[in-house]
Amino acid sequence: MKNEPLKNNSLYKETDLKQELSRALHQLPYETGDPHLQATILLARKEACRMQTRERISFARFLKKQIPLIGWKLWGIQGVFLAAASRVLSDCSGYLISPPRLARLLFCLSVAVFMTALPLLYRSIRCQMQEIEAASRFSSVKLLLARLIVIGIGDIFLLGGLLFTATAKTALPADIAVIYLCLPFLLACGGCLFMLGHFPPGRFLAGSTLFCFALLLLFSVPLRQSALLFHPSYQEGRIILCVWLSVFCACQLRYIIKASSYGELQII
């Protein structure tokens, strides 16, 4: 038998090619009533039953459960820190009459406030709490968010307490004290959130601790360049920096939720 050539390809129209492609690519064998289809449906039903028997919990309820689990420990540590810091501010109020010294102290205290949460944050990253995720159907990212909220509540109270003590025990105006506390806190927060989203979990604690200690060094050593940060007349610049850092922190948080590899550790 002669092997006739295929159709005249020089006249092959695109429409013909598309139709031929569609026909050729639809031709892999499939039988209706395939027993494997029934097996798949059965497995899907079992999976559906298994999912329905798992406890469903809202994010708010899950967040509330974090308080007896971890909240009281963190807030207890932060309460002790607040008492110690208030004592320092009260005892040193005479020595701190000089605004730059007071500014440096508040900057350092603010970074220290952020550092109180680092061990808890690292534990969350390291352990991932997979058992709780399996029970609550939460992703690693939502679990981290719950932890960040608990940490954030403690930090707000702690910073508020420092603000009250600083304005009560010294002559520092409240508006300036707020920025003296917010700016270094946001700086520490932004750097650590960046590391959370971009560093491997094992390097987060070392990286964030080093970063915070570097900030403490920068703010505590009376360098000429860093004096610009503390000068009362540069309040507007500090406010702009605070706004910029807030946006940066929000972007890093969004990155962690949407795009970082942190979410790859999800169970579901």
């Binding site: 038998m1 295929l6 159709k7 390809n9 092959y12 039903r45």
Partner: protein, 175 residues
């Protein structure tokens, strides 16, 4: 509201028996897609099963805006990628080697022509092959194909044009 919309609404309301019908609706095309990506039929069937189980598990993350098909194909594509990493790529040439190239009959000629086309498609670069399979093998629209592959629409159009041009050239050489 289409039948698919009603089924998805039932599943969202907790009636998971509607999932049976949805699976039966999409099973043939997902199997056909997985057969293109699996070394053998058994692994393709496993991939199909895994696709539907994952789709069910991740269903609460899917917000229905008429794009369930794209969602399902995305799950299938990722499942096939995992499978290929584990078991290797399919060898389409084995399917075609059984045919005798010198035996002629009109009906057989059409079959042989289809086999040649499938081999040519299998020989395309991966980024073009996937688009051709989704567009012509699975009847997805260009927009759905772009959604599944997470590419801009223009990129999909451009790669499809290149693929069709390559296929035309190859068919000319086949003569």
């Amino acid at each position: 509201m289409t039948r698919e919309d009603k089924l998805i609404q039932k599943i969202e309301q907790g009636d998971l028996s509607a999932a049976d019908e949805l699976i039966a609706m999409y099973y043939p095309e997902i199997l056909r897609y997985c057969l293109w990506h699996a070394p053998d039929r058994s692994l393709a069937e496993d991939a199909v099963q895994e696709t539907f189980l994952k789709a069910l598990r991740y269903f609460d993350r899917y917000t229905h805006r008429g794009k369930f098909r794209s969602f399902l194909y995305r799950v299938a594509a990722n499942t096939c990628i995992d499978m290929q990493r584990k078991y290797g790529r399919p060898d389409i040439s084995l399917e075609e080697s059984a045919a005798d190239p010198y035996y002629f009959e009109p009906a057989f000629e059409a079959v042989r022509s289809d086999m040649v086309l499938r081999q040519l498609v299998a020989g395309l670069p991966e980024n073009q092959r996937e688009i051709v399979l989704l567009r012509f093998g699975q009847d997805l629209t260009l927009r759905e194909t772009a959604d599944v592959l997470k590419l801009p629409l223009r990129t999909v159009q451009s790669r499809l044009r290149s693929a069709l041009k390559s296929l035309k050239e190859e068919l000319r050489h086949e003569k």
